[in-house]
Symmetry: C2
Subunit: 603 residues, 2 copies
């Protein structure tokens, strides 16, 4: 039967053949897991996603949310599936056991979450966001706070959020105006308004715990004076029961392009009476806490781009195998029409989509691999390097997967022709839902600044060097295989040029031409991402080629063949355009900086 959302065989390939995740399962931390249990988890998660969650995706989009008198009502179809998911404790699959979770390794919880995101991102968010809040409290909270909040958040009995953005403080967090005044009892009175708060209010949990960024009276301006507070919707009594309603209210929800069933709330604190918050961590250390959460959010956003792209690809592929239209190219005029997968331009488009889905999935799983390496590192040096790699690649996972994922969704619509423009197929919704990924949790422009301004030079450049060396390893492996030697040679050239570009841009970013350098930061992020796609596709091809030489099962032959052809396609038809983009960075035109504001026109 045709696959939906993502191909299970592909996860098996990435998790067990491309990456040697089995080695992690020998660690005592994962004694409850082996390859078989992981496989069972993924199979069950996939079933839940397709059978139960997927129907809520279009329904959530059509029915939408109802906002009335400060409350947000989710679509009727959500609650039963929310219950199924939380009863199965799916939202806490990757949460450490000491927090009350299942303690599964990252690679398996990421894989399951890819299915969940592709099936119903909005619904999945309601189940999973408490975990993010719980993580913050686990790391920075007092023992009392941990005891009071963590377990219920992990269980999705209570929901979590993140109150960061204000109307004049978006990318510029430091401009926020929400204030906190310390009370005699050690609590704080919070006053302010926040916007764009995901799941700030809804009817799926009995309580919602809001982490709120605010400035304590008298604290320094900018980010240095920001603290973070726990602001529960309902206060929690000492016995764990719910107490009075706090003065934090949803004042409206946004009418959005996509992810319509995900509540994007405006929140008012202290408008009707007194909003009380509890300091999390130390005063003026809010940004540290926030960044801890933000890295996780950026991974989730990248996953969103990947998951939608994968869902869109499977849909388009199934449609191309069913839709009959036009005779095959080169056949006589009276020849029978064929399925559109036979048409060259459709094949090009499908293989283009596949090359990104494959590259992005492997890249995402590579991040999981780095996370595991860090968790289970034998030495501090290993841990620091794995953490560094994770941090270096985080802005790319976020921005590149968001943008390329979106483009894959757009091409998915194209395969459907006119039908793709209607709401009859999920292709249209994938495209709309995906667009948010390039915007929230730091726009792509912000990610590019982070990459060039902070990440490239980490550990004196050692992390970036390690990254280049990791790619070199794959190239060397591929060069040893005659069928892949040519592709390996091409990636070798790309890698050489990437190093050159990085050095050139890094030097300029620290010169008086820094503005010009930063005008090339997003193109730079993109060529790093392209290189990673080429790397991952070549790695896949190498793994597949070795498997093909090793007496594979007959039913696996097309799968492995697909890996090789996909790598060929990406490296021969996408990489050269990326090399062209590298040339533009080396050329470093300063037109965008030199042009006067007036010369943009329109005045």
């Amino acid at each position: 039967m045709a696959q939906l959302l993502a191909e299970k065989r592909d996860f098996d390939f990435v998790m067990w053949e491309q990456f040697d995740n089995e080695k992690f399962l020998t660690h005592e931390k994962y004694e409850a897991f082996n390859k078989k249990t992981c496989d069972m988890i993924l199979t069950e998660g996939r079933k839940l996603a397709i059978k139960e969650m997927l129907p809520t995706m279009a329904d959530g989009d059509h029915v939408g949310l109802k906002f009335e008198d400060g409350t947000v009502t989710t679509p009727e179809s959500f609650k039963p599936v929310f219950d199924l998911m939380t009863e199965g404790e799916w939202q806490s699959l990757g949460v450490p056991e000491e927090m009350g979770g299942q303690g599964a390794p990252s690679f398996i919880s990421f894989a399951v979450n890819e299915y969940f995101s592709a099936a119903s991102f909005a619904l999945n968010g309601y189940t999973a966001m408490g975990v993010g809040t719980a993580n913050m409290i686990q790391v920075f909270g007092s023992e009392e706070q941990k005891k009071m909040y963590v377990k219920n958040l992990v269980d999705a009995k209570w929901g979590g959020t993140m109150l960061l953005t204000e109307s004049n403080a978006g990318s510029d967090v430091g401009a926020l105006e929400t204030s906190a005044v310390k009370n005699a009892d050690g609590t704080y009175t919070i006053t302010g308004n926040k916007i764009f708060i995901t799941n700030g209010e809804h009817d799926l949990c009995e309580n919602i715990i809001h982490p709120v960024l605010a400035r304590i009276e008298g604290a320094p301006a900018g980010t240095k004076g920001i603290s973070i507070f726990i602001v529960p919707k309902y206060f929690v009594n000492e016995d764990g029961s719910l107490g009075d309603r706090n003065d934090i209210w949803c004042t409206g929800i946004e009418h959005k392009h996509g992810i319509i069933a995900s509540a994007t709330c405006s929140m008012a604190m202290g408008a009707k009476g007194t909003c009380t918050g509890f300091l999390l961590g130390n005063e003026n250390e809010g940004m540290k806490v926030m960044f801890n959460m933000m890295n996780h959010a950026r991974m989730t956003t990248g996953l969103q781009g990947l998951a939608y792209a994968s869902g869109a690809y499977q849909l388009a592929l199934n449609y191309a195998r069913e839709r009959v239209q036009m005779r095959e190219l080169g056949q006589p005029h009276d020849a029978e029409p064929v399925t559109i997968i036979k048409h060259p331009d459709v094949r090009r488009n499908l293989l283009w989509m596949k090359s990104y889905v494959s590259g992005m999935r492997s890249f995402f799983q590579y991040m999981a691999y780095q996370e595991e390496l860090s968790h289970l590192a034998d030495t501090e040096e290993e841990r620091v390097l794995a953490d560094g790699m994770f941090e270096l690649l985080t802005p790319i996972i976020k921005s590149y997967l968001a943008n390329r994922g979106y483009e894959v969704c757009v091409q998915g619509v194209q395969i459907f022709g006119g039908a793709g423009y209607t709401k009859d197929y999920l292709a249209e919704q994938y495209m709309r839902d995906c667009k948010i990924a390039s915007i929230y949790e730091g726009t792509c422009g912000i990610q590019a600044m982070d990459l060039l301004g902070r990440k490239m030079g980490m550990q004196g450049g050692k992390v970036f060097m390690t990254f280049l060396a990791a790619i070199q390893q794959t190239i060397d492996d591929a060069k040893a295989l005659p069928d892949l030697a040519d592709l390996a040679e091409r990636l070798q050239k790309m890698l050489g040029k990437l190093g050159e570009v990085a050095a050139h841009l890094g030097k300029n970013a620290m010169s008086e031409k820094f503005k010009t350098a930063f005008a090339h930061s997003l193109p730079y992020l993109d060529v790093m991402g392209d290189t990673i796609m080429a790397w991952m596709n070549l790695w896949r091809a190498t793994t597949a080629t070795k498997a093909l030489a090793n007496n594979p099962k007959k039913k696996d032959l097309p799968f492995y063949e697909g890996q090789v052809k996909t790598a060929e396609f990406f490296i021969r038809t996408v990489v050269p355009t990326s090399m062209g983009r590298m040339e533009t960075i080396l050329d470093m035109s300063s037109a965008a900086i030199d042009i006067s504001d007036e010369a943009f026109g329109g005045l």
Copy 2:
């Protein structure tokens, strides 16, 4: 005041400075027009677009259409503006006087239509589609048919459509199943169902004249057996009054991603009784009639891409000049925040958008110029060549402007950040509305096949050679200007490579590798489009540089500076990626053809 939709100064520049349209106005055909009247028309059209039409854009999107009992009700805001537009005869501005139109030259009617399309594409379609139907009848109809239909269609008293697509005949027109049986009185009885019929039913006109593609009983299979019929919603009596209702009914409207206020109808003919049609032209020559209309539709679709892109750019630019967020790069932490147009990545994005809007507008006006050259040609040779150029570039105008226009709209959303994802700004709607352009009137894949399979070799390659020579002329002009010599040299290299790519691909398209060649046809269309963008931007820069040397008005300085910087930006930061894409076409990977269907996965 900030400009909306499109910059008037830019039209003036393109129409009178870049292109020497004034020479056309000396022709007797245009004796009613001079530069001043053209300017007045554009000024008035712009005013109508911004003041009256633009408010209907978001309203049409929010209110949508109501379908009930076979009728389609448009938003209340539409009718008053529809009346204003048609009372002003704006829909017939470019229609020849002998058809009852205003007979304005193409360049001015296209310019006005760019404003109208950006202001309210859906509404504009209701006023203008009758003209397309009238054109068909004017060219192929009998004297009686012309007398009966043309004037009322041109006046938008009656609406027009095009009934082509069926559920199994989309790109594959030849597969259509709608049948026609000749009656004793010379009329035909039509039976069948059509889908995706724009404005197939609505309440803005008292009658609708449907051209319907159908196969006469016994006619050959495929496109060779297709005829076209006039099927009026209400029959027209000899005295011009309306008679009985014909049996053609709207059975539903699509729920679409965008252009929500444009009725996309399913139409049933002969389901309730007898649907009568009147043959237009000769039996089995329907495709010829259809293609006449289709070329016009492809121009309109390209214009849509351009118009939305321009509207999105102006919106984003205005927002970037108002939105304050973050301090300027390189300033101390406590520096005041600035408008986001000061940030390098925002500038890059805006200039990227501007370079496409500029290139696309000039390209579109170049098509108008070719149309005028053809209309007013002194010799048959001139006419044939101008027509050839127009035909060669039609698939590019359609596909390239649709795709790049969409990407500009997407980047427009990005400038708005989170606000761009909401329905609070038109940025979101431009993006949604624009997506259709890559799909209808022949998908981009179909356009690419047309370009490679039919257009490149026209007139024994003479048209393409003329195209290359036209670009060379601009290069030579630019080389003579020291400030532009470097950019000219870069375009020279691009042009050389384009010629090489065209020859290589053309050869392979006629070899046994034809499938592989066609798998590269859309990338080829794209590099042709990129070359045209570079050409147009360099042409603009050349015109501006000459103007700068000629004692310009002070207020024009930023405008001209903008042309030069935009050309620099495009040629130095976009062209190299396009050169990379040309490399991929020369390399001609056959991966997309060689891969087996199974290896795409998902089975």
